[in-house]
């Protein structure tokens, strides 16, 4: 081996090495440096997502499908189902040997039955891993209150909250707002009511001609209980249940002072409500407000888009405010919302890709598009602070603020939720039609709910 040969060999070796390194370097995606997020990590994989039908949640995804598929290489397979069959399908899939869906859409009321049963993948490791989550995901952007409903769950205690994440809030949240006609309030010289006493007085003062001071859902409809009664109930400081299902002491509090008072207030406000209010479902009440016949109405924020929309007869006169409450320490209304989750019975690869897609459809950019185009309620605080969003949809800040003061329905963690809501909604409706007085109605609801809880094994007696 001469010196020259050695030099020549080492140059050749060095060149070869350089070529080799650059060749390898070129075929590896630039962001593959260890610990960084790689959007193309699931290129070529299919992710099957099931969303609820009828809430417009799938629309944003349909719009952005091509864009997301281009950015991640994922083949998105979207299925939508009505809320009933969706729940059924999810329950089946979570218990099958392997789920047919990689991402499932879970309503708050079903979190306990899914996360609580250990059927969902724990997402805490995913969200904390910078290799799996985009740097700009900003998980802190989700309000704590919402995360303690469609987010964190404690399977051992069977309660919301804790430090195990099972869902990411999405695609829409749900809150209750007070919609009112600022022109009518100004003309009568009335301030936006802060307490429920103020509200009643305002309703009385605002009723004149064919305008009713207040509207509500008075029919045999879940919203009568979930919005009108519940807002007043928690606004009086009411606590829905005592005890816990864990030690079979879960008991309803429907005969408490606050419960009866809340119903009584609804009865007392009947003279200042539209004549047909006891047959108003959610739609009929909105029709009345839109026709200009109502001055104030606490309702789901989902109608804000329609009321503020370009076609709305009240678009220039409607405004939103937080729902009244009798004391600073009380809540204002019910917490609604859905979450996206990943079934536990999937291969790890599916879960990783499901998470990747989830980060894309719960991102700031995606939510902004969804909210601005379809007026669904946002989950992120930043959406509520975005000037563009506020300019187009002035009610958004109030909607997101309402999430903070909302109260999770205390029967949301048992499977008999809808049965108990049904007991209350029927009695509320009967009391409003004058068939019963408030005390009797709530006593009936109490008896009915107790029976349901006993049959369900949550109350031992």
């Amino acid at each position: 081996m001469t010196e020259r040969n050695l030099l020549r060999r080492s140059v050749v070796a060095g060149l070869t090495a350089a070529v080799a390194v650059s060749a390898v370097g070129a075929s590896v995606p630039v962001a593959a440096a260890e610990g960084a997020f790689d959007p193309m990590a699931c290129a070529g994989k299919a992710v099957r997502i099931a969303l609820v039908d009828g809430e417009r949640d799938e629309k944003g995804l349909q719009d952005k499908e091509a864009e997301i598929e281009a950015a991640t290489g994922i083949d998105i397979q979207l299925t939508t189902m009505a809320i009933g069959p969706l729940g059924e399908s999810i329950a089946q899939n979570l218990r099958a040997p392997e789920s047919a869906f990689d991402i499932v859409h879970v309503i708050g009321f079903n979190v306990a039955a899914t996360a609580g049963a250990g059927l969902l993948e724990e997402l805490t490791p995913y969200v904390n891993d910078p290799a799996k989550t985009p740097a700009d995901f900003d998980f802190a952007d989700f309000p704590e209150g919402q995360l303690n409903y469609t987010g964190y769950f404690d399977p051992e205690k069977g309660e919301f909250g804790g430090d195990k994440l099972f869902l990411v809030p999405g695609i829409h949240s749900g809150s209750v707002l007070l919609f009112y006609r600022k022109d009518l309030l100004d003309a009568a010289g009335i301030e936006v009511p802060q307490t429920w006493d103020d509200y009643k007085a305002a309703a009385e003062a605002l009723t004149s001609g064919d305008v009713a001071g207040s509207a509500m859902v008075g029919a045999n409809d879940p919203s009568a209980m979930l919005v009108d009664w519940y807002s007043r109930f928690v606004g009086h400081g009411g606590v829905l249940m005592t005890g816990s299902k864990g030690d079979k002491t879960l008991k309803p509090n429907f005969t408490s002072e606050e419960a009866v008072e809340a119903l009584q207030e609804m009865i007392d406000i009947l003279p200042y409500s539209p004549a047909a209010v006891t047959s108003y479902g959610f739609t009929e009440a909105m029709d009345a407000f839109m026709a200009g016949k109502v001055a104030m109405w606490p309702a789901w924020a989902t109608i804000a888009g329609a009321l503020f929309g370009p076609d709305s007869p009240v678009k220039d006169t409607v405004a939103v405010a937080p729902v009244p409450r009798n004391d600073e320490s009380f809540s204002r209304g019910i917490r609604g919302g859905w979450g996206l989750a990943i079934p536990a019975n999937l291969p790890q690869e599916n879960k990783d890709c499901a998470w990747l897609l989830m980060t894309q459809i719960t991102s700031k950019a995606f939510e902004k598009h969804q909210v601005m185009t379809y007026q669904t309620d946002p989950n992120r605080i930043s959406t509520a602070q975005d000037p563009e969003v506020i300019a187009a949809l002035p009610y958004i800040p109030a909607a997101v603020a309402a999430i903070e003061d909302a109260e999770t329905l205390a029967v949301a963690n048992i499977p008999e939720t809808w049965q108990i809501v049904g007991e209350l909604q029927r009695e509320i409706n009967l009391a409003l039609t004058g068939a019963e007085d408030a005390a009797t109605a709530m006593a009936n609801a109490q008896a009915g709910a107790e029976k349901i809880l006993r049959d369900g094994g949550h109350l031992a007696d």
Binding site: D221, T278, S279, G422, T433
Partner: protein, 300 residues
């Protein structure tokens, strides 16, 4: 009257024929109708909630639960009232309409075509349609009543009116069914009977009561039985218009079954309810059929 004739072959042929002719149908029904029914019966002995995946044997627990469930009894009463009043109205009105159309007025075929529409409509559409028509604020029905100074009831919210509202909507949808069947039978009646009675000097009322109606009886009975089965199971009107309310005033057995199954996710209880419905309906049906065949024997 036996099927065997001198050259039709021995009974063995007949049995094979029956097997080949009716076999596929019976087999199909066994697999896709009877088996699900048995499965459903099996479910009714369990307490099955799919969302919590609880699946416990309760034996007759669901059935005894039904007997002590006040809502079940109320639903039974509601269903009985709804079914009997609906059938009565539909049979009478349908027959009257059929007789009316028998007058063969010009252009009547078009009106008949319009009247048939309701029974062809999607139940969801019917429900929404009537919810819109009966809307207390902007619905056309109350607006019209207002024009004539008549009272404008809260059709779905007033306890006194709610069940009647369902009867009205159901009758709007299904009276044409009775009308069609009776009308068709009217066209098929042999004319010689009428000619003979005309010769005998019978007036119109006599003809109607003594001849036409008895001859129509089988068709009317067919329509009545058919309507009985379906009105008993009626669900869509309740779901679309009143959701079982106010209170439990319009909760029918069918609605309560659905509510337990789909809303409360108590499949065992819902299956038990469904089975009770089937048993009651079968008993009622066989009684009805017996009454009808006795009548027909009288008429014949």
């Amino acid at each position: 009257m036996t099927a065997a004739t001198p050259t039709a072959g021995h009974p063995l042929h007949t049995r094979r024929d029956v097997l080949l002719l009716a076999g596929p149908t019976v087999l199909y029904l066994l697999v896709f109708s009877v088996f699900p029914l048995l499965y459903s019966l099996a479910i009714s002995f369990f307490d099955w909630n799919p969302t919590t995946s609880s699946f416990d044997w309760v034996g007759l627990g669901n059935f005894t639960g039904l007997l002590t469930d006040p809502v079940f009894w109320q639903a039974a009463v509601n269903t009985a009232i709804f079914t009997s009043v609906s059938i009565a109205i539909q049979v009478v009105l349908g027959t009257v309409l059929a007789l009316f159309f028998n007058l063969r007025l010009r252009g009547a075929w078009f009106v008949r075509g319009v009247l048939i529409l309701p029974m062809l409509l999607t139940p969801v559409v019917v429900g929404l349609m009537w919810r819109a028509l009966l809307n207390p604020d902007w619905g056309m029905v109350n607006w019209l009543l207002g024009l004539f100074g008549l009272p404008q009831p809260l059709w779905t919210a007033d306890p006194a009116v709610a069940l009647a509202t369902l009867v009205i909507v159901d009758s709007w949808q299904w009276t044409p069914f009775v009308m069609v069947i009776v009308f068709a039978r009217l066209q098929a009646l042999p004319q010689d009977v009428f000619e003979a009675s005309a010769v005998d000097g019978a007036n119109r009322r006599q003809t109607l009561l003594r001849i036409t109606l008895p001859l129509l009886a089988p068709a009317i009975a067919f329509a009545a039985i058919f309507r009985a089965i379906d009105a008993f199971r009626a669900f869509d009107v309740v779901f679309g218009l009143t959701y079982g309310g106010p209170g439990r005033l319009t909760t029918t057995l069918s609605f309560y079954t659905w509510e337990n199954g789909f809303s409360f996710q108590q499949y065992g209880y819902a299956s038990a309810l469904a089975y009770v419905m089937v048993i009651v309906a079968t008993i009622a049906m066989s009684l009805l059929v017996r009454v009808v065949s006795i009548r027909r024997e009288d008429a014949a």
